[in-house]
Amino acid sequence: KEKERETMFAAENGLKGDPRLEAISAAIRVVPNFPKKGIMFQDITTLLLDHKAFKHTIDIFVDRYKDMQISVVAGVEARGFMFGPSIALAIGAKFVPLRKPGKLPGKVISESYELEYGHDRLEMHVDAVKPLERVIIIDDLVATGGTLSAAISLMESQGAEVVECACVIGLPEVKGQHKLKGKPLYVLVEPSGLDEFC
């Protein structure tokens, strides 16, 4: 099954022509020049306003993971929090938040990752994930894969197995790849078209 997988997109991995993907894509708003000039920001808050499309998003991930014996869904702060818990609840898994430094109250482990300028860190509670647990990592969007790579490192440092990284949107930098640090990547849609929002 792994050998057949060429790309990360859902449409090329069993969901070709699925009208739900169209609805999800249409619900995502593009905001030009945020957070700075030249960036076409993919705004998923409009997806969250569209109950049907939001439900489709969760349903597609749930259908994919419910029979894969996943015991942990980890979500990257903060937009990963908007998708991860609903998936975890539906598949009977734990939800583990991965947060910016200083937010989690208990003892944490951390992993740094590169930003365009400088570094940031991702933290996780030390007791959240046990060895041999099967983990899905969720974020709204994957660009360079830096944050997800840090998340994978956190999981592996605890002896857990990352089964897949899942995102709603995948940017061109990652297109054509379907693995991150050797882990499969699964993405629902490409970035939405230019400036549709009125």
């Binding site: 702060e77 938040p97 109250p105 208990g106």
Partner: protein, 213 residues
């Protein structure tokens, strides 16, 4: 949902014109005040109380809900309790306060057929926003909301993991009311009643599951 005896009493009583806050889920359908929904205790036992280290606010007891999220049954029960309360209430918006409100709000919104609207700190939202300031111990902070996310006539819930002083919830209520929405209720997993946050909700009712004194 059928009314309990206590609900009927409150409806008929002249006291209803004052601010009566019915503690959620401390009453069963039979109106027996001593009997709590059995799921509540399961949730309460999963909340971890952490004494903050010097690097954070020294000595503060922090109510950590991440351990609830680690227990699929407790997390599901938390969401189910709120969903059961709100699903027949024509709620069109669930607004969640960043970041822990994002953990509970979307599952509730999905289950009751409502929109989810995040209310984060400044500079997180990419589109046009409005903001509301609230007081911290030292200085102020702000909550923001996208223009157009909530419309006049929307019936809204505000969700956060915990209510302490009520400052952020009050700011959220203000944001929603400014665009013409009706805030039906605030919903929190935990209340710290000694901080009297309930008094700062502009008369809006609070539903909470667990209180810490």
């Amino acid at each position: 949902m059928s009314l309990t005896i206590i609900h009927l009493f409150l409806l008929l009583s002249p006291l209803r014109k004052q601010r009566i806050y019915v503690q959620c889920f401390s009453l069963t359908m039979s109106g027996n005040k001593e009997e709590e929904d059995p799921r509540i205790n399961g949730i309460k036992t999963k909340i971890r109380v952490v004494t903050c280290s010097v690097s954070k606010i020294a000595g503060i007891m922090f109510q950590d809900i991440t351990t609830v999220l680690l227990d699929p049954k407790a997390f599901k029960d938390t969401i189910d309790l709120f969903v059961e309360r709100y699903r027949d209430n024509n709620i069109s918006v669930v607004a969640g306060i960043e970041a822990r409100g994002f953990l509970f709000g979307p599952p509730i919104a999905l289950a009751i057929g409502a929109k989810f609207v995040p209310l984060p700190k400044p500079k997180k939202l990419p589109g046009e926003t409005i903001f509301e300031e609230y007081e911290l111990e030292y200085g102020n902070d702000r909550l923001e909301m996208h223009v157009g996310a909530v419309e006049a006539g929307d019936r809204a819930l505000v969700v956060d993991d915990l209510i302490a002083t009520g400052g952020t919830l009050c700011a959220a209520i203000n944001l929603l009311e400014r665009v013409g929405a009706e805030v039906v209720e605030c919903a929190c997993v935990i209340e710290l009643p000694e901080l009297q946050g309930r008094q700062r909700l502009k008369g809006k009712p609070l539903c909470m599951l667990v209180e810490y004194r």
